[in-house]
Symmetry: C2
Subunit: 223 residues, 2 copies
């Protein structure tokens, strides 16, 4: 169900080196949309998508403009009642949204799924930080059952590939994986464990030359 890395890279070369990477555009203090547009312009066509979250949205609701550079995933970690999540997604022009599975179905993800007709919904199956084991990781099997009902993809961490590998056994659709670089996982580590795309933030976005850094990080695809 998951292409091996060499064939993935081969097909990517045909697509002008599009890496199996999603870039997280979380701005450092004092930075906002101009910072995000600058990085996105340098990576246009080279990555699968751009991921934005609340830190950037608090600097203004300009997702529509970012879509000029590639698909946009709104990583809002939605975890509220359905009526509130709907009020949020109606106001954000993203191609895909990330919500928490733990918020449950009735009165929450059921209503969100209906509202997102035609857009992609990812659910968080497990997270990249240590505290994910306290509650979230205890439920990933039940989250998968819920995901079969409502989700197009899952989020599972590069920092705990044992969980990622387990999830991949039961989930044939898309898996995207955060935790590469600043959070400790190495490039290609999640891809090798079954992820379709790795989510990279600070390692690329805070580097002098984002495109060059990306290319260097993903030399692992050729290994």
């Amino acid at each position: 169900m998951h292409a091996d890395l060499k064939s993935l890279h081969f097909s990517m070369e045909g697509l002008k080196e599009m890496y199996p990477v999603i870039i997280a555009l979380d701005p450092p203090p004092g930075k906002g949309w101009e910072w995000a547009f600058d990085i996105a312009s340098k990576l246009k066509g080279k990555v699968k998508a751009f991921k934005v979250g609340w830190p950037l949205l608090l600097e203004g609701n300009r997702v529509e403009e970012l879509k000029e550079y590639g698909p946009v995933i709104a990583d809002l970690k939605l975890a509220d009642i359905g009526a509130t999540m709907i009020k949020v997604v109606k106001r954000v022009e993203a191609d895909a949204f990330i919500a928490h599975a733990f918020v449950g179905y009735e009165g929450a993800l059921k209503e969100l799924r209906e509202e997102l007709e035609g857009k992609k919904l990812y659910l968080v199956a497990s997270m990249s930080h240590p505290g994910s084991v306290h509650f979230i990781d205890k439920h990933w099997r039940e989250f998968l059952l819920l995901a079969y009902l409502v989700a197009d993809g899952l989020v599972a961490p590069a920092t705990r590939t044992s969980v990622l590998r387990e999830i991949r056994k039961y989930w044939s659709k898309e898996i995207i994986s955060p935790g590469i670089g600043a959070q400790g996982a190495r490039p290609c580590e999640a891809l090798r464990a079954g992820a379709d795309y790795e989510i990279v933030g600070r390692s690329v976005t805070l580097s002098e030359d984002p495109a060059k850094t990306l290319e260097e990080m993903y030399s692992c695809l050729k290994g």
Copy 2:
């Protein structure tokens, strides 16, 4: 540990009818901050606090201005890794924040608590929608243990007072309770079950005369 309703109302009369209520300013389609300021101006001094969430923040980051009308609780349902939650709360000038307990301690709530030094942190112990029972409600006892470490208050639903009553047995600090009105619970129902403040949204904010509606709804305090 919790004052009875008559004495609560008596002390409120001394304070010019301040109701034990927090007003949720979630804007209907097409409305934004001017709508919120208008309602807040009509309820200034009559309610404990105003609660804002992502739907309003997507219309602009103007929490600072709202503080002219009363304390502001940012109900962001924070549920991300620590580094991201910190980027969010640094950008929102609220007096208090609501986060999910579900996200766990290390790498998440621990870091958030340190960042919020001097501000209030509420954790969600249970939610008002039916789907809360799938995962969240299974863990409220463990959430309380976590709350003892990091929280000033808890959020527990008016729609399931059995859970609220149980939580009150083990938690002496503040409990705020959503679900009154549009979501089905009646005014004073959560107060009677042990909440300190009820969170009211649409019933008041969509009414012709918010102050009069509030007064009518909370005639239950005199009963």
